[in-house]
Assembly symmetry: C2
Homo-oligomer: 476 residues x 2
Amino acid sequence: MLTRTSTQSLTEQLADRFSERIRTRLLAPGARLPSVRECARQQGVSPHTVVAAYDQLLAQGLVEARRQRGFYVRDSIAAQAGPALSTIGGPISEQPAAKLVPADASTLIRGMFHRPSDKPQPGMGVFPSEWLDSPFTAAAVRRMTSTRALQDFSLQYGEPAGDGGLRRSLATKLANINVPAGPEQVVTTVGATHALDIVSRTLLRAGDAVMVEEPGWALEFARLEALGMRILPVPRKADGPDLEVMERYCDAGDGHKPKLFVSVSVLHNPTGYSLTPGSAHRVLQLANKHNFHIVEDDTYSHLAPEHATRLSALDGLQRTVYVSGFAKILAPNWRIGFLAASPALVGRMLETKLLTTLTTPSLFERALAWCIDQGQLRRHAERVRLRLDGARGRTVKLALAAGCTLASEPAGLFGWVDTGVDTDALTQRMLDEGYLLAPGSLFHARRPPSTLMRINFATAQDAAFWKVFARVKAQL
Amino acid sequence: MLTRTSTQSLTEQLADRFSERIRTRLLAPGARLPSVRECARQQGVSPHTVVAAYDQLLAQGLVEARRQRGFYVRDSIAAQAGPALSTIGGPISEQPAAKLVPADASTLIRGMFHRPSDKPQPGMGVFPSEWLDSPFTAAAVRRMTSTRALQDFSLQYGEPAGDGGLRRSLATKLANINVPAGPEQVVTTVGATHALDIVSRTLLRAGDAVMVEEPGWALEFARLEALGMRILPVPRKADGPDLEVMERYCDAGDGHKPKLFVSVSVLHNPTGYSLTPGSAHRVLQLANKHNFHIVEDDTYSHLAPEHATRLSALDGLQRTVYVSGFAKILAPNWRIGFLAASPALVGRMLETKLLTTLTTPSLFERALAWCIDQGQLRRHAERVRLRLDGARGRTVKLALAAGCTLASEPAGLFGWVDTGVDTDALTQRMLDEGYLLAPGSLFHARRPPSTLMRINFATAQDAAFWKVFARVKAQL
């Protein structure tokens, strides 16, 4: 908050706050700053202070003034570049690939790593670390470092497909959810993100059309866009993807037909929806008729209800590729994910892994295998699910009391909440209060304004947050 | 070797040997098997045994007979696929992206991980693990696991750019070789491979032209080809890349101009050449005139002579991006690499990292920072360089005695050796003897036949290998 007792002037404090948000992309390139009057009211300072702060941002090259329209965040490249001096002379053109990574996505993604305060963050995508804290994970790592084994595996590249022991453990885990895959069909990756990247790079070429559920996870849209793919958004409904929309995409002429469908089938992010068996069957029928692949992102598998329906189980990994990881349940920084694919495809997936990272570190893979084999992961996941059930109940009550409605039946880690106000504006104002939200626009390929937001049930069960939320919302 | 005392028949042993090589891509799709007569002579068995073995391979769908022309390894996809049964019905087409990853590269790359025997492998790309074995690496890892720190960093994603302490250590290391980069210009990656992948994905779009040194590392050709880039090979000479060829590429019409030059400037793989200051200056002048970026792959930096010339140092990281890693000196399986880029570019590189793997594991990054800060890495590298100098002298003597000549002045880890015979054929025959070679064809984008091969000075100082080599070469 701005404070008059600080050694910095109010103008400097205000300018610093905006420049920090621009730098961390919490204010995206092209975003409009609040009007002088609006900002003065929000921050409780004089319009003169706001004008002086905006002038500082202008001088730093972070914003630009547009005649009669106010102040806008400058294009990221230009803002980051500074003076481009070459030792030999002549300007460096950064233009060619400037649009490869859309600025939109980095807003949320960078936000994942820049906590605006120490308060519980309702927009977070993972459990708070204290939820994951268990003595067994550290014990598992130390088991692998206390022996000669550490040197043995450190000093060679390791198995291309990943640690053999872990792949056996994963194959057993997959069998438990009826996904038939031998260890030789499993490839470990640097988190589920890397697995999804490998699948799209293996199955697609630039310009190909990909169906992606909407709303959906911003990183997936951004990654596919950066790879030059054409994104076809498929509305996600309670029972599964909108099949009529999918069918219309599939009826496009040759060369425009979708090659891949990306689906978070169980505990979909952000709605919490899970696929029904009937819908799964029809999706696979369509895939079969129109000859596209499906990548099933089962990132939330450890929070899923028993007997949840997976496309990969029905399909027997013929046309589907299964992807999951452990960031949501065990240790995000271990960066372990994996994919399982048909014998026909797994060799090609492995080649893409080799081209992108060669191998993956064995230490955590062995530690994870131990956690699975000893039953530690299963018991830990049970504890987390139970705790989450309680948190979900409390959070829902608080959200309703704060005047929100639920856009979908509460399930899993995330709530999809209608606030009744524009959540992009709400996000900027809540940042002033030290809270980072996940506004609805971030879950759409084209970022339309939205009154929805995603909340994390584990971190949003905090009455203090909802009090601030209700106050700020009323001011909008 | 085939043996008559085995419980398997000679036919089965021979068929198994070929099927294993086809499976591991040591025999690439499209490769021709030796003629029946030739194979019988090489293996010391009757033509009847060979015919029976080839028939087994035919029955397994691994090879196909072409009328009057012999037996050929079948296309990889078909060979791996097996019966493509869908639970719902209808065939699965794997065709669309089948050519994304060229089979060529996987031959060498997979070979890196499939040692055909326990003998020292002269084709290897890294030091044998006993050369890297030092008590300090395990100690460094255990320091990071013996404290509360392990849980602290495991349970969050970690810093997007990589561990802050490591980035400070790397910035200091870079300053020592006159590459000016603050910690905020450094991004850690999953090995140098991932760093090169990030650079090309950030700066290029599918269809862009990239200049790559030839001969050069097969993985780089394969990766760029898989990304859909147009590869423009630039002959690598003793003092640097062939500038006349580069100039001709640059004089192409707009839209065909190269966007990037990939260079292993110091201790080039496979020739061992290091860039001269004059050549570096001219390369940068050309880059400036024709507005392309340069990625400098300094993978062998720890083996480099003092005062070696880096493009990134001359250029001050304006137009260059610096890439290096620790697989060649410390611990291949830790998978730590990094890139350093201008303030204008580093933000975009970081976004590509986030899209591909989110973050990287902190444990090994912290352990590596400790090894650097304590001077352990520097002293270890000195010991390895000294040992390599001795090995190089012995290997060169043995190679010359075996009738080879050296295609370049011996330096660094690799020798570039002219055998006087076709090294693709030599490689297949040496596999029968338990040795995997790195034939010259693998270091070219188009894989032309070559009499050259790359040898690893650390593993080729073995008289037994050269004895077998001379015998097999004489039989060709």
